[in-house]
Symmetry: C2
Subunit: 334 residues, 2 copies
């Protein structure tokens, strides 16, 4: 039987896995953003192809005896699962089918949600929850292996509570408030000014209207960004130590993500909550008062989950043993 | 002596006043946005000219005996004061000088801050404070007739706490949270859906992902706007009655504007705080705990203040009597 292909196409980077129908990962590749919504279809297709070609190349060199180097390199796959944000919006798979066909990958292509891939990266069980907080934030409930409910993921203007954007926006506002004499002193101020290469003495030097010159420089720097780019300042909140303003922002983020999970929590669906995304890995998610959530697990990305979804799409039942095989063989390739 | 011209150029509308050097208002005109930052220089100049021409026409027809209709219509003015947001940024007055010269207004042109015009609309005193909350929000301290300190006015992304944008953004997020099962039920939801012409039954009908269809329609509608346009939903917060979410938002806005005023409050500068802008007129400003603020006054716009600033620029001392003359004669023209 031919190998399977699993792609976890994220907004920052894309991971491709080639695995056998028994769950043995034999190739792994990484590329840039494969999200067609944030990066455009052409760019996304190019990065998916790049990660896939790297995974296929590794699969080919790793298993020359079993299949012959040439066959494995040829890249045909039984099933290709592509996990990505907005998978439900992209009903047509033409854009990726033709891109993959160009490198001779011609299997059936199945789009899956990135949140489901996150869940399956941390759980072989078919019931449970996933919460992702990276640039944006969202939660899903998984029942019988299917995503049956979701919360938030509404974007920076309407939602994404507790996300990287949300942390970054709170950060720049807190710093502006301190410089404007409207808010308390915070360790976020020197951190943000350094990140924006604003000289530290600008925060004491008075500018043209009596306020610190750093405030004007902060205004210029922040309004030169697209709003969503404020997410890049989220790490400062974690770097600010026991600063009162920063710990307050982090507590609010935890509470917001708890509320998002609570919106889809159900006593009928009992299982683990799998946490993903750059923010949530560091933040930690409280699960007090939830009825369906049994424990918290954290994953780095959705690569294992995309592989699990490829196995299931191929008719393989993924029990604990198969799940562990995927995890361990993929860890060996990374 | 020739008449004076005073223009209060706001982001929504522009008001022009023609007055005698004694403070007798003899002409009044209104036009659209005269703010070069939000509307561009060409549009702003056109609207300032339109309001001015209307004011000059009224001045001409009102006083045919004293000066002769023709002379008054000619429009020469000793001094023209133009009060507007960002007045300190526009050091050059060329754009408005040439526009006014085209209708034969050739006096000295003085740019003043819109916040100072707000203060002078409500106070003949030379010491005190002004707080404006319209689309944005800001506060100033006035000492000896000059603006000596300011707070906020940092725009929707970094500040403008308690402003129309701030209220509108809180509103759409609260409605999204209710529809997403993350927030409490609020009277803002039917009000906002009606404002966006989203059918009320869409809030109960499930959409493609199990969430109400109204949520998807809200997303489409809100992301089609420029962020700053969320300010248009601020009136809904006032219309929501004793709704808990809405009253919470209003209490937070009052508190935020109090904080902005407190940032520049000084025991040395004692006087009234003059409140302006669409939001603050309805909201009400608490002044507890402030050292310099003696009382709260509210004004509709900066027209009286622009006239007061024109008189002062012309060397007229504006005492209570002159101030009242400006107020009353302008009220008679509106």
């Amino acid at each position: 039987m031919r190998n399977l292909l699993a792609v976890d196409a994220g907004g920052t980077s894309t991971r491709a896995v080639v695995l056998t129908p028994a769950g043995q990962c034999v190739g792994y590749g990484v590329a840039g953003s494969g999200n067609p919504i944030s990066s455009g279809i052409e760019h996304a297709a190019r990065e998916v192809v790049k990660a896939t070609a790297a995974a296929l190349a590794q699969a080919g060199s790793a298993a020359p005896d079993a299949h012959g180097a040439h066959d494995a390199m040829a890249g045909t796959a039984e099933i290709a699962v592509l996990a990505m944000a907005g998978s439900r919006t992209y009903v047509s798979t033409d854009w990726i089918t033709s891109a993959l066909a160009a490198i001779d990958v011609r299997g059936r292509i199945v789009l899956e949600s990135d949140l489901l891939a996150t869940f399956c990266s941390g759980a072989w069980e078919q019931d449970g929850y996933a919460v992702v907080a990276g640039t944006g934030s969202a939660a899903i409930r998984v029942h019988g292996g299917r995503q049956e409910a979701s919360a938030d993921g509404l974007g920076w203007l309407l939602g994404d509570d507790g996300s990287g954007f949300w942390l970054g926006a709170r950060t720049v506002r807190a710093v502006a408030a301190e410089l404007d004499n409207r808010g308390p002193r915070t360790a976020l101020t020197p951190l943000l000014l350094a990140a924006l290469e604003i000289p530290p003495d600008a925060s004491t030097e008075p500018g043209y209207d009596g306020r610190p010159d750093a405030l004007r420089l902060l205004l210029d720097a922040v309004y030169a960004l697209r709003p969503i780019e404020l997410a890049r300042f989220a790490p400062l909140v974690f770097a600010a130590g026991d600063d009162e303003v920063a710990t307050g922002i982090l507590a609010d983020a935890r509470s917001a993500l708890h509320t998002t999970l609570a919106a889809i929590d159900s006593a009928i669906v009992r299982g683990p909550v799998v946490c993903g995304g750059g923010v949530l890995g560091t933040l930690g998610l409280p699960i007090d008062g939830l009825r369906g959530v049994t424990e918290v697990r954290t994953v780095a990305d959705g690569a294992v989950g995309a592989a699990v979804l490829a196995l299931r799409a191929n008719g393989t039942a993924v029990d604990w043993e198969v799940f562990e095989r995927v995890r361990e063989t993929l860890a060996g390739l990374r």
